[in-house]
């Protein structure tokens, strides 16, 4: 919403400065988005007379001008074809800044003639693209006057943002009323006079009974023998200032009243209307040629204004092209209507038409303006276009329902922490237009017709407080719930945070990627139910809720590779979606590595990432998130987007999976256009069991540490086993050989080749024996060794390697 300072002063009697008004506007909820003061930008430019313009002796296209300004006579060399003796132009002296060419003028010499300053065009002043010649002002224009004044540009333009509840401030008068309430002056009375008609209109308003809810009331008047054409200068200047193009007096009047009073109007060329005008619903598929010269197909929920020939207006949204006014219009029919905000919003949204009328009706127009709007428009048309006006024709009735709200004066302090006297509360509400009376301790306020947004007591509190000033609300410290701050994260939230930190320590960088991916990418990582396809995606690349975080991470790794950074180690802790329920949203810690595991180093060889990097990452995340990693088993049942021979899952059982890891399937990588290998892991944070903590216990206590005073003993064994035997099986079997003595089993070598038969491999392990009550004798060690060998052979079918 834009207006000028002088326009505001039409409604507001005030001595306040522009700065004070601008600051106050923001503080009462009418946020100032910008102030433009052309006079400031143009203060170097004044009118001047060219007392002589002669041909430049050395240049065909230049003239040497003697320019009379308020500061004396200056010689200026000018290239404009229209520079001539006796003209009044605009002069920029030496030292002034010319915005249109971004130049500060210096004294110069052009082909032997001194030039001190410049006669400027509109483009050079930054006013328009006009550059056919220098500005040529009417004869008799005084010399030495600021150009901003001459052009009517010395009126600062203020732009404010209007929140959706404040339709009343989509007219300058509403803004003035708020400022008056906030002590910035007084609201001038609106001059509205009832003007009697001198004849009956030949066009009458009709309304289908069905539209009564959507168009409660419409009024109109017939104007005859008027004269349209360009509107007066003051009106054009105001419209131009707020960015509207002047069209003709009648059209300009509708725009002016819309912005001045927030009352949209429409004017028909009466001679182009056939029969009466009717408010009705459109027929499904009915066509309408609108003022924007587009043809719209209408639906049967849209209100149209129709005559005998069809739709001539789309209710509250836009008029029709065929019945619009032109410069030749001599007879005009005025429409002043009330439309239901929701109906206009729906029509507007369906048709896609944006208009100032729609914008206002959607935000609710003052219902009483359907009455005084007729008078205001009549006065203006008669004043500017002459002619005679008919009696008023109307259909329906203006709603007279008034809302009364009771306010407990103490409520301001209850809700806002600031005490405002009852008198002040009454004063504020009164200036805002509420009819206020006292009812015992209560303030009883009748809501004005232009404030349908005020619905309850809390709304009155806001009205009073915003005018009283939010700056008067005290800062109050919230009483702490306890002396020390309490732990505010749940166990799960802490685990998520820990998993994230652990993965950083592992050398992975944290990414945050979109929750949606393309359907093609999603399909690579599992089947997606239709309920997870976004109905109105912003692009087809982002139309499916991701079934895994991997597609966005792989895409990120591919982008980095294309940039020349192929060694990726990325993770994200975030959601993936199994279905559209709360449970279907799974909290994941997912990551990948590509390229080499470490940067090249002079002393240690780099290597390509492999599945065991991903397994290590998964275990690190699981461990940090509190999973019982000691008890986890590995199964080879990873999802199909992993390499079938280089992947696995970690779980407490085959059905209770906590993580998957492995190399990504080459087919997936090919589809995602990234060179492999890429290894990845997915940790299901939600699946990690919660520890059982007994009531009344902190759950922090650790089991006692048992430190044996007796030296532990390490024994190495190597077993020849079939190539297909899983090493994990051997380790598990050996661990179980003597649970009281064996505290650790570490696989330290896998060997195939010379000395080992084809189809076999040698697995070497170190077994740690920890006696607890005495030092082990050689015989005891030998006995345990035999158990180890027996268990290993039994579990793996292998033999001890000698």
């Amino acid at each position: 919403m834009k207006f000028t300072l002088n326009w505001l002063k039409d409604h507001l009697d005030t001595d306040a400065s522009l700065e004070a008004i601008v600051e106050k506007l923001s503080l009462i909820g009418l946020e100032v988005e910008g102030v433009e003061n052309k006079a400031d930008e143009l203060k170097a430019f004044k009118t001047a007379k060219v007392i002589e313009a002669v041909q430049h002796p050395n240049a065909d296209r230049l003239r040497v001008c003697q320019v009379q300004s308020d500061e004396g006579i200056s010689q200026v060399v000018c290239g404009a074809p229209n520079a001539r003796t006796g003209m009044i132009g605009v002069f920029a002296p030496v030292g002034s800044y010319v915005p249109g060419i971004d130049l500060t003028l210096k004294a110069g010499n052009l082909r032997g003639e001194d030039s001190n300053g410049m006669l400027v065009s509109e483009r050079e002043m930054g006013l328009s693209d006009e550059h056919d010649g220098i500005i040529d002002l009417p004869e008799g224009t005084e010399v030495g006057v600021l150009i901003a004044e001459v052009l009517g540009l010395d009126d600062p333009i203020i732009e404010i943002a209007i929140t959706p509840n404040r339709g009343d401030c989509l007219g300058v008068r509403g803004v003035a009323r708020d400022l008056a309430a906030a002590g910035m002056g007084t609201l001038k009375p609106l001059k509205v006079e009832k003007i009697e008609g001198s004849f009956d209109s030949s066009i009458n308003w009709k309304a289908d009974a069905a539209v009564a809810d959507d168009v409660p009331y419409v009024a109109g008047r017939y104007f005859r023998n008027l004269k349209n054409g360009p509107s007066p200068k003051w009106l054009q200047e105001r419209l131009l200032a707020i960015g509207l193009r002047p069209i003709s007096t009648l059209v300009d009047i509708t725009n002016y009243v819309s912005f001045d009073l927030g009352r949209p109007l429409h004017v028909f060329d009466a001679d182009k209307i056939s029969g009466n005008l009717t408010m009705r619903y459109a027929k499904e598929g009915e066509e309408f040629l609108a003022l924007d010269e587009e043809t719209y197909k209408l639906s049967d929920t849209m209100v149209v204004i129709g005559d005998d020939n069809g739709a001539q207006g789309l209710g509250g949204v836009m008029g029709g092209l065929e019945t619009g006014c032109s410069d030749d219009t001599t007879n005009m029919f005025l429409e002043v209507a009330l439309f239901d905000p929701i109906s206009v919003a729906m029509t507007g949204r369906k048709s896609g038409i944006l208009s100032d009328a729609r914008y206002r009706f959607e935000r609710t127009v003052d219902s009483q303006s359907a009455d005084w709007g007729v008078d205001v428009a009549t006065q203006m048309v008669l004043d500017l276009c002459g002619g005679e006006v008919s009696n008023i024709t109307s259909a329906g009735a203006i709603p007279i329902e008034k809302r009364t709200i009771d306010l407990r004066p103490s409520r301001i302090e209850d809700l806002c922490g600031v005490a405002v006297s009852k008198e002040k509360q009454i004063e504020i509400l009164s200036i805002l237009g509420f009819e206020v009376s006292e009812k015992g301790d209560l303030i009883s306020a009748v809501v004005p017709s232009w404030r349908p947004d005020v619905e309850l007591e809390a709304c009155l509190v806001e009205e009073i407080l915003r005018i009283y000033g939010y700056e008067n609300i005290p800062e109050i410290q919230m009483a702490p719930a306890s002396y020390l701050p309490q732990g505010v994260l749940t166990l799960v939230q802490r685990r998520v945070s820990n998993a994230r930190t652990a993965l950083c320590w592992r050398g992975l960088d944290e990414a945050v990627t979109f929750s949606f991916v393309s359907a093609a990418q999603a399909d690579l990582f599992g089947s997606v139910p239709d309920s997870l396809r976004v109905a109105n995606p912003i692009s087809t690349d982002l139309d499916t809720m991701r079934p895994s975080i991997l597609p966005t991470l792989v895409a990120a790794a591919a982008r980095n590779t294309d940039r020349g950074y192929a060694d990726n180690a990325l993770f994200e802790v975030g959601p993936q979606y199994k279905d559209d329920t709360a449970k279907g949203q799974q909290q994941m810690a997912t990551g990948l590595r590509s390229g080499n595991i470490a940067e090249r180093h002079w002393e240690s060889a780099s290597r390509v990432v492999d599945v065991f990097d991903a397994k290590g990452d998964a275990l690190a995340a699981l461990s940090a998130a509190g999973a019982p990693v000691e008890n986890l088993q590995v199964f080879t049942s990873a999802p199909p987007y992993f390499h079938p021979g280089r992947s696995g899952v970690l779980g407490l059982g085959p059905k209770n999976v906590l993580a998957a890891f492995g190399e990504l399937h080459p087919r997936v990588l090919e589809a995602m256009d990234i060179k492999g290998p890429v290894v990845a892991f997915e940790v299901f944070l939600d699946n990690i069991p919660q520890p059982k903590v007994k009531k009344g216990e902190s759950g922090k206590i650790k089991p006692a540490l048992e430190l044996s005073p007796f030296q532990s003993v390490d024994r190495d064994f190597a077993f020849l086993v079939d190539d297909s035997v899983e090493a994990g099986k051997l380790v598990r079997a050996v661990k179980g050989a003597d649970k009281s003595l064996i505290t650790d089993v570490v696989l330290f070598d896998i060997y195939k080749g010379k000395g080992v038969e084809d189809g076999q491999k040698s697995l070497a392990i170190t077994v740690t024996l920890q006696p607890r009550d005495k030092t082990l004798t050689d015989e005891e060690i030998e006995a345990v060794s035999q158990k180890v060998i027996a268990q290993a052979m039994k579990a793996t079918g292998g033999t001890l390697r000698r």
């Binding site: 909820g29 929140t163 309850l456 939230q493 320590w505 960088d509 979109f514 929750s515």
Partner: protein, 356 residues
């Protein structure tokens, strides 16, 4: 006894001439060993008269002592020399790179989230989270945004396919549904922040179809706008690390709060550089207000007895302002160079007592 003197100087000379520890040890054995020269000489003393024997014995002992001392001195010298030689030989080029270790960086969104938790945690707010695919009631209707409300259009909502019962889930446009669910399911009083992913169908230089929000909610019997002001001033000053950061509360409109306020922080924009704090300009950073009575009633809370405030802000936005990150879109691009530059080391876990 001339030959004694000769023996002495001969032995001492040999000690002096020993070129390394090994040679010195040979000299020691030759001189002082069981079969060494002095020992051999001393063995001959038995044939002497007791007086002479005593005298000669003493003389040999003196030589023995002198040689032993000389050997010790020589040993130290040689040891030093050997160490010097070893050190010279062991010299390496220390300009070579050290053995690398890699550590990843936390995303600025995570870091900012942890900072929010640290600050609001101190003020007794716990953290609530919720689902991203929401129903119309929790995302809109309960928040006093009925279907045809003009404010609905401002949300640029993503819709999911219509269900059999005609309802249409949405991707939550704000984290307010978490507040609604908290009010429906939690016992009063409530003091929570609700951070998380939010979605709006808007994509340009300053809008992302997915971004993060944090909202706060306090419901009890007496919390008012003064408390809101106190909490937000405290938060902004702690978060941005500017002690006297000016804040401005302006009336605004949100369907779910009444009265509503937008909050600006003081800044300066001189030279095209945005600086938080001081200055003569304002920068809008969050929306807030007293929870609308209709919202309370929609959640089954008696609005004549309970009241409270709510606020909300964009996590990316405050992170960009605090850390000088210029472009919103880069947050989701996972460019390794960006992550290394704008990311945070995992040991920088924010805490009020350690400093943010």
């Amino acid at each position: 006894m001339d030959n004694l003197e000769e023996l002495r100087s001969a032995l001492l000379q040999r000690v002096e001439e020993a070129s390394d520890l090994e040679a010195l040890d040979t000299v020691r054995v030759q001189a002082l060993g069981k079969k060494g020269e002095i020992t051999q000489h001393m063995k001959t003393l038995g044939s002497l008269a007791p007086e002479e024997r005593k005298e000669a014995g003493q003389a040999f002992n003196l030589i023995k002592q002198a040689v032993a001392e000389a050997i010790e001195v020589r040993k130290t010298t040689l040891h030093e020399a050997a160490l010097e030689a070893r050190l010279a030989e062991e010299k390496v080029d220390v300009s070579l790179p050290g053995r690398p270790s890699t550590i990843g960086k936390l995303h600025p969104i995570s870091q900012t989230l942890e900072e929010l938790v640290a600050i609001f945690g101190e003020m007794g707010f716990s953290v609530a989270e919720g689902q991203h695919i929401e129903d119309d009631f929790h995302n809109f209707t309960a928040l006093n945004i009925p279907p045809e409300h003009p404010a609905r259009q401002e949300f640029d909502t993503f819709y999911m396919p219509e269900k059999e019962d005609g309802s249409r889930p949405v991707l939550r446009t704000h984290t307010s549904p978490v507040q609604i669910r908290s009010m429906q399911n939690t016992t009063l009083p409530i003091r929570i922040i609700a951070p998380g992913r939010t979605f709006r169908a808007d994509h340009d230089a300053t809008h992302s179809p997915m971004f993060h929000q944090v909202e706060g909610l306090v419901i009890d019997e007496k919390t008012n706008m003064g408390h809101l002001k106190g909490v937000l001033i405290e938060f902004c000053r702690a978060f941005f690390g500017v002690q006297d950061l000016p804040l401005r509360f302006r009336p605004s409109y949100f369907p779910f709060t009444e009265p509503s306020a937008e909050v600006d922080i003081g800044c300066s924009r001189s030279g095209g550089q945005l600086k938080i704090g001081g200055g003569d300009d304002w920068l809008e950073i969050l929306g807030s207000g007293m929870v609308h009575p209709k919202v309370l009633e929609n959640c089954g809370i008696d609005s004549t007895k309970y009241q409270g405030f709510a606020f909300g802000m964009g996590i990316e936005r405050i992170a960009m302002l605090k850390y000088g990150i210029p472009d919103l879109r880069t947050f989701y691009d996972s460019d390794l160079r960006w992550m290394k530059h704008y990311g945070f080391l995992p040991m920088e876990m924010p805490s009020m007592v350690r400093g943010l």
